[in-house]
């Protein structure tokens, strides 16, 4: 660039400062990686992020621990997590895509109020709905059931999907739809034959995000799923390090296995996330 190059001291200073910050940022992550491969249950006996000896025992234990009925617990919990997150995603996307399209393309009284409502609901703290939902699901006998947790997660997944998909529909050109309308296509046909195929990338991103949100959710799952067979992965991971018995090696192994897939997805999708979040907050 044309900007003048500053003197060497500033250049070195900035690089050193950034490297130091990176070290602080990476330190906890490195400690967990170290713990996953180091023998022992204690979290850290030394501050060094380099393991003294390497073992795969924690991973072995994670994958081979069996529950009361002899089933492999980790696989069981992973299956629970996958089923809950998948169903939540399907419910969220299917129920919200037509509404997102309507909010993006049609003008009708109450549209602004509807948009605001979908936004405000996303700002609800979890406990606000958790308590009445717990009381109701308890009455209906839906505690400890996948269906109950999916319903609970849908309370946040649907508004999230509506907003993100609405943002994506806004960015699609309207010319194709107008041409189809002139040719006599019904709104539903336009939506199904033109908009949905065009919106496939947006739907995929939205679906991935709502999958990740459900996959990473802890407190609802921990409250609603108290039977060990019904745990999702976050509940399993938290249960390895309770106050009375903490196995940090097992925790580290579980944390790595659970977060790597979502971290990869996050890095692939992060540019969509920032745009979507701030767009949602700015527009009204």
């Amino acid at each position: 660039m044309k900007a003048r190059r500053p003197n060497l001291a500033v250049v070195v200073g900035v690089h050193v400062a950034l490297v130091a910050m990176v070290a602080v940022t990476l330190y906890p992550v490195l400690l967990v990686c170290k713990k996953a491969f180091e023998p022992g249950r204690q979290f850290a006996l030394s501050a060094s992020p380099v393991p003294r000896s390497v073992t795969l025992d924690h991973f072995h234990e994670l994958f081979t621990t069996r529950g009361g009925n002899g089933e492999l617990l980790f696989l069981r919990h992973a299956a629970n997590s996958i089923v809950v997150a998948l169903l939540t995603t399907i419910v969220g996307v299917v129920l919200s895509c037509t509404a997102a399209y309507a909010l993006s393309r049609f003008r009708f009284p109450g549209r602004k109020a509807g948009l605001t409502m979908f936004l405000v609901v996303q700002m609800f703290p979890a406990v606000l709905l958790l308590i009445p939902l717990y009381v109701v699901l308890n009455r209906l006998g839906l505690l400890n059931s996948v269906a109950g947790l999916v319903l609970v997660y849908s309370t946040t997944a649907i508004p999230f999907c509506v907003w993100t998909l609405k943002g994506y529909f806004d960015s699609l050109p309207r010319e194709l739809e107008e041409a189809a309308r002139i040719d006599g296509a019904s709104p539903w046909m336009i939506f199904r034959k033109i908009v949905l195929p065009l919106a496939r990338p947006g739907i995929a991103v939205t679906a991935l995000f709502s999958f990740m949100t459900a996959w990473n959710e802890f407190i609802m799952a921990s409250t609603f799923m108290t039977d060990q067979n019904r745990y999702t992965l976050p509940v399993l991971i938290q249960s390895t390090v309770t106050e009375y018995s903490a196995d940090w090696g097992l925790f580290a192994a579980g944390a790595i296995v659970t977060s790597i897939p979502v971290m990869i997805a996050f890095y692939v999708l992060q540019r969509f996330l920032v745009g979507g979040l701030t767009a949602g907050a700015v527009k009204g």
């Binding site: 037509t98 709905l129 109701v136 802890f218 925790f251 996050f266």
Partner: protein, 518 residues
């Protein structure tokens, strides 16, 4: 004309049928309970007088509780059942457990009769039968009266006839017909002696007739048919939101007026709210005092947002230097905390702080400092939460700030440099004004996220020491799940949290976003 009349009548009738059905179910259940309780009571009294009990009712005489010879903490009872005495044994299918519990309840609080809340509409009653003996009767299961379909169809037909007749005459008679037709559905409610439901139905009828008079129904119908495509598209999400969000939200509002104790709900009016907002008679530094928790929450939110913005902006400014090497690598590494699920982050930091030999203490010791017992004082425990949340939250602000910095035209800086502006002048007059519009919404969003950040508080400090580091959302959770299932208190606090957030989004974020107006 007649179709419009029937349409309006149909809507009113639907509401009226709904009300009538609720009234019917309430009246029917009340009567059934009264009948069953009375039956049990009568049988117990009959047995106590050595009379003959009606068939179907199970009635027995129970002896006094006697200490077991083998286990002194156990008490036995004997029951006179089918002509001879036998011991009462739990697990014996013939209601022995129920009889034993009823006898104990009798010993504590005297004669009683009550419904057994197991869905079968059985009732149990106990009365004294001579010294030390108790007569206990259990009324058999009973089915409630069936829904009176014929009656309902009859009055509905009458209503349709009235409404149609009104429409045929036309003019004012049409409105009268609507009113009379819907009000006809109040007739069964009067028969069931449910004045509230009858009044409600008459009010609905008057409302629909008035709306018809003001041509409101026509206008609404026109609006609905004009926007029927949009409404059809909206319906799936709207209906599911009504069921999944609006209904629980309304239930939560209502639960705030109830107290929950061991499975029974009691209406307590505003007393939950009063207890919360008055601090419940606790001093201001008591960790259960609402105002103390609110103070901690505000401090928590302010400290985190401040640290997130400062750290994020500083890093973004460093990363936006044009001569920087490896910017993409730095950026990728800095957003790592954002990518990690936050419950895992919280647990990692918990592990680093906990115990004498935690990683943080080891670091302090290797720097020649003393280790700190992080969770035993308020300031250090609060710091662990803030440190954890700062670590996981700064990348968002950094990314937002980086985006804003990239959108600043280079020419502005070049022009400023030509005019001889100093670096801090360029920052103050060019960089900051361009950062504000992007950071405003980000700060608004971040403040709400932090206010609601349950996982960090719950998993890192867990409120330690002694609940002093709880924030509002974790405190509400603890009312429900860690302090004897006080769902009413939790729901009331949830309502207050919602009102605070509402005030903040309406007024507070306007302050934060002031930069937008420029």
């Amino acid at each position: 004309m007649i179709t419009r009349q029937l349409r309006d009548f149909g809507i009113g009738a639907l509401a009226a049928i709904l009300i009538a059905t609720c009234a019917f179910v309430a009246v029917r259940n009340r009567e059934l309970i009264a009948r069953q309780v009375e039956l049990a009571q009568r049988a117990a009294a009959t047995l106590a007088r050595d009379g003959v009990v009606e068939p179907g009712v199970r009635a027995v005489i129970v002896g006094p509780a006697e200490r077991s010879a083998k286990h002194r903490y156990l008490r036995h009872r004997k029951v006179f059942d089918g002509g001879s005495w036998r011991p009462l044994v739990a697990g014996n299918s013939r209601d022995d457990k129920l009889i034993y519990d009823a006898a104990n309840h009798f010993d504590r609080s005297g004669a009683f009769a009550a419904l057994i809340p197991d869905g079968d509409a059985r009732a149990v009653a106990a009365t004294p039968a001579g010294t030390d003996r108790i007569a206990i009767a259990i009324a058999p299961p009973a089915a409630p009266a069936p829904y009176p379909f014929l009656v309902m169809i009859g009055v509905l037909g009458l209503g349709i006839a009235l409404a149609a007749a009104g429409a045929l005459i036309g003019g004012r008679a049409a409105r009268a017909g609507t009113f009379a037709g819907i009000a006809a559905l109040a007739i069964p409610c009067v028969l069931w002696q449910s004045p509230i439901a009858a009044t409600a139905i008459v009010l609905v009828a008057a409302g629909v007739a008035l709306a018809q008079h003001a041509q409101l129904t026509d206008r609404i119908a026109r609006g609905l048919s004009r926007h029927r495509t949009a409404l059809g598209f909206l319906a799936p999400a709207a209906v599911s939101m009504a069921v999944l969000v609006a209904a629980p939200f309304a239930i939560g509002l209502i639960l705030g007026f109830y107290d929950h104790h061991q499975g029974t709900w009691t209406f307590v009016g505003l007393s939950n709210f009063v207890e919360i907002l008055s601090g419940g008679g606790r001093s201001l530094d008591d960790p259960l005092n609402f105002w103390f928790i609110l103070g901690v929450t505000v401090l928590w939110t302010a400290a985190n947002v401040l640290l997130h913005v400062t750290l994020g902006v500083v890093l973004a400014l460093l990363l936006s230097r044009t001569w920087l090497r490896g910017r993409a690598v730095f950026r990728t590494l800095f957003i790592l905390p954002w990518a990690i699920p936050n419950y895992i982050t919280a647990l990692i930091w918990k592990g680093m702080f906990v115990g004498e030999y935690g990683a943080v203490n080891s670091l302090l010791k290797s720097a020649g400092l003393d280790g700190v017992s992080w969770f035993s004082s308020w300031a250090t425990a609060f710091s662990t939460n803030v440190i954890t949340n700062t670590w996981l939250g700064f990348p968002f602000m950094m990314v937002v700030a980086l985006g804003a910095l990239e959108s600043i035209p280079r020419e502005l800086y070049e022009a400023a440099a030509v005019d001889g502006a100093r670096p801090w002048q360029r920052f103050w007059h060019i960089t900051l004004p361009h950062l504000r519009p992007a950071l405003g919404p980000a700060v608004a969003l971040g403040s709400i996220w932090t206010f609601n950040m349950f996982n960090v508080i719950y998993l890192v400090s867990a409120g330690e020491p002694g609940g002093t580091t709880n924030i509002l959302v974790t405190d509400a959770y603890r009312w429900a799940f860690e302090r004897g299932e006080r769902y009413g208190m939790a729901a009331a606090e949830g309502t207050i949290i919602f009102l605070i957030l509402l005030l903040w989004t309406v007024f507070g974020t306007r302050i934060v976003r002031r930069g937008d107006d420029a």
